[in-house]
Symmetry: C2
Subunit: 343 residues, 2 copies
């Protein structure tokens, strides 16, 4: 192959060029760039200076090939928006960046036959030191074995491996708190607009809702199905509006909650005078819709940061025991979409 050249026609400098200019060996250059000990300050300075002059940058591929370490973390994400997953991805990006690792992303599409397993394979092929699986749609245990550390965020371990870590936003607790807020206000029961049950996140929220009801000795009415979208919330809201007994609704996502409110208002039910609605997410606009939405906040940033700390630990100290993940904070944000039931 021809050596890659810059626009000046000068070849891209390699560690050999730096070594020559600094009057040392290539290994010494390597040591300097890897912050290894046993290099005199004087030599280090000379090497850095030579590198600077030449515009030298270590070649990532060569480094990876020789060392087996890629210094990159791969993320598997669902390639569709939706406030929750998109925000989580942003938080993960930031957290990865803060660890100093580079980031590779593979997005899957819901219904993709290759699915998560395919995405993981492609990441492994590209070379990563660790993998983050973010809110995957459940497709059963994937029949693959991965021996880089894996972090599952808001999901159960989908496949086994010696070093898997799981973390989550504490959806079960958040859903309980949201439901209990409504019960405490005096509502006889709480209806639920659920997310698709193939999502772990949706199942946890449903379970938290059920648990809160059970703890108060109420039986759970049938849950309505949504797909996270405001449209699906709107459809569920129309069904709910048809039933005069409904006074309280907990939606598994803010977008669905907004759809529910839309349908309710359109049907002539007042919110919160006739029906109270609680969401889940605390998206930034939740404070500004009409009426401002009571909801629970998903702690994406701390959860991503914490999860990545664990993952990096698993990568860098394979033999150390991993500390358990901290419990994420539970935060209920009470605004104007909830009130006591009508008399």
């Amino acid at each position: 192959m021809t050596r890659p050249v810059g626009r000046t026609g000068a070849p891209v400098p390699s560690s050999a060029d730096v070594a020559r200019l600094a009057g040392v060996s290539r290994k010494t250059v390597s040591r300097v760039f890897n912050d290894e000990p046993y290099v005199t300050p004087e030599v280090r300075r000379r090497v850095l200076e030579a590198a600077q002059m030449l515009g030298y940058r270590p070649n990532h591929a060569a480094r990876t090939l020789a060392s087996g370490r890629t210094r990159t973390i791969g993320v598997v994400t669902l390639g569709t928006a939706g406030f929750g997953p998109a925000s989580l991805l942003v938080s993960i990006e930031r957290a990865v960046r803060d660890t100093g690792y580079a980031l590779r992303v593979v997005s899957t599409v819901d219904g993709d036959p290759a699915g998560v397993a395919g995405a993981v394979q492609s990441l492994l092929e590209q070379g990563v030191d660790g993998i983050v699986i973010s809110e995957p749609v459940d497709e059963g245990k994937a029949p693959i074995h991965v021996d880089v550390p894996v972090l599952f965020v808001e999901a159960p371990p989908l496949f086994t491996g010696p070093r898997t870590v799981t973390t989550g936003v504490g959806a079960y607790q958040l859903a309980r708190v949201a439901t209990e807020h409504l019960l405490d206000l005096g509502h006889a029961t709480v209806h639920h607009v659920a997310g698709p049950q193939r999502w772990y996140a949706a199942r946890e929220r449903l379970a938290g809702w059920r648990a809160a009801l059970a703890a108060h000795g109420r039986s759970a009415p049938p849950a309505l199905d949504g797909d996270w979208s405001a449209d699906s919330g709107y459809r569920a809201g129309r069904a709910l509006a048809a039933n005069d007994d409904v006074t309280a609704v907990f939606a598994a996502g803010d977008e669905m909650a907004i759809g529910v409110i839309h349908a309710l208002l359109e049907a002539g039910r007042r919110v919160p005078a006739d029906v109270s609605v609680v969401g889940f997410d605390d998206m930034p606009i939740a404070a500004h819709v009409t009426p401002p939405l009571t909801t629970v906040r998903q702690p994406f940033d701390p959860v991503a940061r914490e999860g990545l700390k664990l993952l990096v630990q698993a990568i860098e100290k394979p033999d150390a025991d991993l500390p358990p993940a901290l419990d994420p904070p539970v935060e209920l944000v009470v605004r104007a979409s909830t009130a006591p039931p009508p008399p």
Copy 2:
């Protein structure tokens, strides 16, 4: 019973193993995996079969090192959410995925001294065949030289290079159409809640708004400053509500528009009876807020797809002329937040 995969010295098969099993040379294996011509179907079949049996996957780093091609595209994004940039990133991810290239992401934070230039450098170091710069905050021309093709999405070329492509959602046109919709409804003038002017996207929207006003012979009132958030829209809305002459507002983003409406309603102005509001984005919930929001749709998916097609062309056929980017579709979505001015 899948073979262990990873870097722990496990028996990861190499092309040599495949070659041995298939009874061919390593070069032939390479040819098969690169879809090169001049391999008999029979040999190809045998190689594929052997690879399958061994669970062979080409090693990306080795391939990169030997060929100089990484088959990955790097994306520079702003590491903060906000509906627009986050959705654009999702569209870009999907588009990259469809090209068959792998994806590396570097997120910058607004105010980061290294900024876009630093992000680009780190991408170059990691090794990418092309770079996408997505909605960067303007920081002046970066004094760097990049010699892989670069695609600027919703931004002017920030630095020069032999192969840069730019594409955008057509914000200027969209803003014009949004403003004209209000003018056509009979409003005397249209107020504007702008995004931060360090964003190209914000400047384009402002310019489109001004142009529409000018085309109708109206002078532009001073624009209000927002930061894309619903909170900032709310603050701007309070200022607007204080002025009885205001009958029409064009906000540079849906989130800000929702904040504006919140402030207006709170101040006792009816929307749209007293004041009409138009947003920009068409987020999925825009149809479900109260009142449902009139807005213009950002065509993220087609723009990302088109842009990536161009970028890949620049990568793979360095000498061919690039066709100009197609004009993105302009779509006004009229809902219930706009009406003629009060008499």
